[in-house]
């Protein structure tokens, strides 16, 4: 490759510098007004960045909610210093958190992290930005639908936030919003439902776009078995979103009907709330909601993890300088995983009084679904074996993903077996399980992705020292947050408890709560390295050429940052995605897009 190519080359070549760090895109012949270029842009890269920035904001926000909650858990009933008074008398009377407010924080943390944070970043952000580049497409198949997708998503987010300002506060029935509790909750729940309808709709538009783009718009020579693993992961993810989200949309509509039109889809007859008979027709089923919710929400957890695995695959292949081990096996595994994720949902409902036939069915499918994960992890570890591993920042995060996901995944097994779930269901063990997969798992993979593709998006490298500080502090802190949760769960501590010291078994593990909270705040501090790095590098990061990591996939054929239309010349694909260290070649990498390799 030719390192002298100007990093900012575009078709028309007037590569002048914006010094305000907004040079994410170059001008075309006809100058588009600012709002068309950066606000209502149809360019997948701009939309991807919009999604990513929105999502990062919400990750930070959702995390902040949790940092406030962690005070109450560590020091129940003590006034929160500094911020306590700022949050108002209803939420924190006298600076002490009210139980309602605790529940709001919990429900909103879950909702925000999942639907406004990780999915928009992993799919909306990385999917939009990277996927078209990796398949050599000039843009998404339906750029305007892509635009619509973001601009339906954003009002959804804003509406979700508006919940906090409703009388009675935001939704407080958990992110799972189980009726009848959610049906009779305050109006924050209505806002939650409406926001979910918008977010789901946006997500559906996005997934249609992704699938069509991946199937129809691959560059010449880019066959199915030459796609980067990240693209496979996005494809499966899109199918999950496409087919699993609509039932939740239907359920949300029914919950809205229950709340606004007085129907009883989820309300059985004969409810007595605070001594008063509830005046509804009744005859509904509270478990119906759970089925529809988990029909989405189980596939949803794979929506959280699959793009993360995709990112890890890219970063691992690039930094081990050897082909991914078991590439086809990986692809088969994610397809199987995606497929199976539709038939395990009721493992979240073992304790609802399920009969033996159905629970045996669901625990068996749950055990089956853990096998492809084992295979995937094995492939990743075997990919490391025999490599020449470069430990740069993205690689650190990607490497840490593996054992962290392993802990999260392994602790899924006792939950998936009905007998042990009797004891562990709805304890902090569950919280520990899924945070290991979503936080040091997915979140770390997403960090890896940010460090890895940042140069492509901005034309500049992020600072390596700050990156390593960010990694090591986060890595240590996050294990202090989530590891103790398993012990709390084992001791029988229920989740969603405003004051765990009410119970004797809670007092037994209260000391751990202090450790966890310290860990969480430490984790919060560690993010400062990242935030500084993120913004500083926009201006001060070292400029890069189009392929700073010496990578092989197509996104590295486009200029950094790519202009409108992405590629200077239509890319042609000559080989498999991860041809690193091919014997007999001068370079240790043979890009897909180079004929001679």
């Amino acid at each position: 490759m030719n390192p002298t190519t100007t990093p900012t080359a575009t078709g028309n070549g007037h590569a002048h510098d914006h010094d305000h760090g907004h040079d994410l895109e170059r001008h075309g012949h006809h100058e588009l007004p600012f709002w068309r270029k950066y606000i209502f842009s149809v360019d997948h890269k701009v939309i991807g960045i919009q999604y990513a920035v929105t999502a990062l904001f919400f990750l930070l926000f959702g995390f902040s909610l949790m940092m406030i909650m962690r005070w109450q858990l560590a020091y129940p009933g003590q006034p929160l210093p500094l911020f306590g008074k700022l949050l108002g008398e209803t939420a924190m009377p006298g600076g002490v958190m009210a139980p309602e407010f605790y529940n709001q924080l919990g429900a909103m943390h879950g909702t925000i992290m999942v639907f406004l944070g990780v999915v928009p970043l992993a799919v909306g952000g990385f999917g939009n930005f990277v996927m078209p580049l990796q398949i050599g497409a000039p843009d998404m198949a339906f750029p305007r639908i892509n635009l619509a997708s973001y601009w339906i998503f954003l009002p959804g987010c804003i509406l979700m936030m508006a919940g906090f300002f409703m009388p009675g506060g935001a939704a407080q029935s958990g992110w799972t919003s189980y009726p009848p509790l959610s049906d009779i909750a305050t109006s924050g729940q209505t806002v939650w439902c409406l926001a979910m309808v918008l977010i789901i709709t946006s997500s559906l538009l996005g997934s249609i776009n992704f699938i069509v783009t991946i199937v129809q718009m691959r560059a010449k020579g880019l066959t199915f078995w030459r796609l980067p693993f990240f693209v496979h992961a996005q494809l499966v993810t899109s199918f999950l979103l496409l087919l699993a989200f609509p039932p939740l949309e239907a359920a949300t509509v029914m919950q809205l009907m229950d709340r606004l039109a007085g129907t009883s889809f989820f309300l059985p007859s004969g409810l007595v709330v605070s001594g008063e008979q509830l005046k509804v027709a009744g005859g509904g089923s509270p478990l119906l909601w759970q089925h529809l919710f988990w029909f989405l929400a189980h596939p949803e957890v794979y929506v959280l993890i699959l793009p993360a695995m995709g990112i890890v695959a890219e970063v691992v292949a690039n930094n081990t300088r050897k082909p991914l081990w078991g590439y086809r096996l990986l692809v088969y595994s994610v397809i199987f995983l995606g497929f199976m994720s539709f038939v395990v949902w009721a493992h979240h409902m073992f304790m609802t009084g399920m009969g033996t036939t159905m629970s045996t069915f669901f625990q068996t499918t749950t055990m089956i679904i853990s096998i492809p994960s084992v295979v995937i992890l094995t492939c990743f570890i075997m990919s490391l074996y025999g490599g020449a591993i470069r430990f740069n920042t993205p690689m650190l995060f990607a490497t840490a993903f593996l054992p962290m996901f392993a802990i999260g995944g392994l602790t899924g097994l006792p939950l998936g077996l009905t007998a042990s779930d009797i004891y562990l269901h709805d304890t902090f063990y569950v919280i520990g399980h899924f945070h290991y997969v979503v936080a040091p798992g997915t979140l770390f993979a997403l960090f890896a992705g940010i460090y890895y593709w940042y140069p492509k998006a901005t034309g500049r490298q992020m600072n390596a020292t700050l990156g390593k500080l960010h990694f090591w502090f986060s890595f240590v802190a996050i294990n202090f947050v989530f590891m103790p949760m398993f012990f709390q769960g084992m001791a029988g501590l229920s989740r969603r408890l405003y004051d765990p010291t009410v119970y004797a078994h809670g007092r037994g593990v209260q000391a751990l709560n202090v450790v966890i909270s310290m860990g969480a705040w430490g984790l919060g501090l560690a993010q400062i390295f990242f935030i500084i790095n993120f913004f500083m590098s926009l201006k001060n990061g070292a400029r890069v050429t189009e392929n700073p990591w010496n990578a092989t996939t197509l996104e590295w054929a486009a200029p950094s940052p790519p202009g409108h239309g992405n590629f200077l010349t239509e890319p042609i694909v000559y080989r498999e995605p991860y041809e690193y260290s091919v014997p007999g070649h001068a370079n240790d990498y043979s890009p897909q897009f180079k004929a001679e390799g």
Partner: protein, 203 residues
């Protein structure tokens, strides 16, 4: 808008054999299947769990207005064929005929909504709101959501009849594809009704 050329916007992809739009609309319909699937599933569940259906006793055909619904079924079926003919006219290169058939489709859709309006208002006069019991809850939710889909169809079809038809002058094939896709959506809405009608009114 931009100089980016999206491949297979109009021409079918050599491998899949279809253009982007058609693939997109089918994926959209797949998600719609799951949306209505969830509602039908809820209906089945609530119904099998109920001691009587409808809970207030009697038969659904006595509670709901079967003749009106039959009329509406006829209207929707007719609108489906006018929609097909509108698309066929495009294929045959006859824009005026397209406008005729498309206009008919839109009129029929309004007809459907008007009949629905009478049905609904009659129920409201009797004081039968969705909250009355789960039968009405299911009835209003399902037909309501279906009605929203009809409205969506009207919007799309009106666009194709009006401003959208300018595309005919520059790119006939593209326009024809759009009509076809709108048609697929419209037939799907018809198809949903084909199940709604017996499930809600007759059984």
């Amino acid at each position: 808008m931009s100089d980016t050329v999206i491949p297979y916007m109009v021409k079918p992809h050599p491998v899949t054999g279809i253009p982007n739009g058609k693939f997109g609309i089918w994926l959209f319909l797949a998600s719609e299947v799951m949306l209505f699937g969830a509602l039908f599933s809820s209906y089945v569940l609530i119904r099998t769990g109920a001691p009587h259906w409808p809970p207030e006793g009697g038969l659904s055909s006595e509670i709901l207005n079967v003749p009106l619904a039959t009329l509406n079924t006829g209207i929707l079926i007719t609108s489906s064929i006018t929609m097909v003919l509108a698309w066929a006219s495009c294929k045959l290169g006859e824009l005026p005929k397209f406008k005729l058939w498309m206009g008919a489709t839109i009129l029929l859709s309004f007809g459907f909504l008007i009949v629905k309006y009478f049905e609904y208002s009659h129920k409201f006069e009797l004081g039968h709101y969705p909250s009355h019991d789960n039968f009405y809850a299911v009835y209003f939710t399902l037909t309501g959501l279906h009605g929203v889909h009809i409205l969506g169809g009207i919007v799309v079809n009106s666009y194709l009849l009006g401003p959208g038809s300018k595309l005919w002058a520059t790119d006939r094939e593209h326009f024809t594809n759009r009509v076809e896709n709108a048609g697929l959506y419209w037939h799907f809405v018809d198809l949903v009704w084909i199940f709604l009608f017996p499930c809600l009114y007759l059984l």
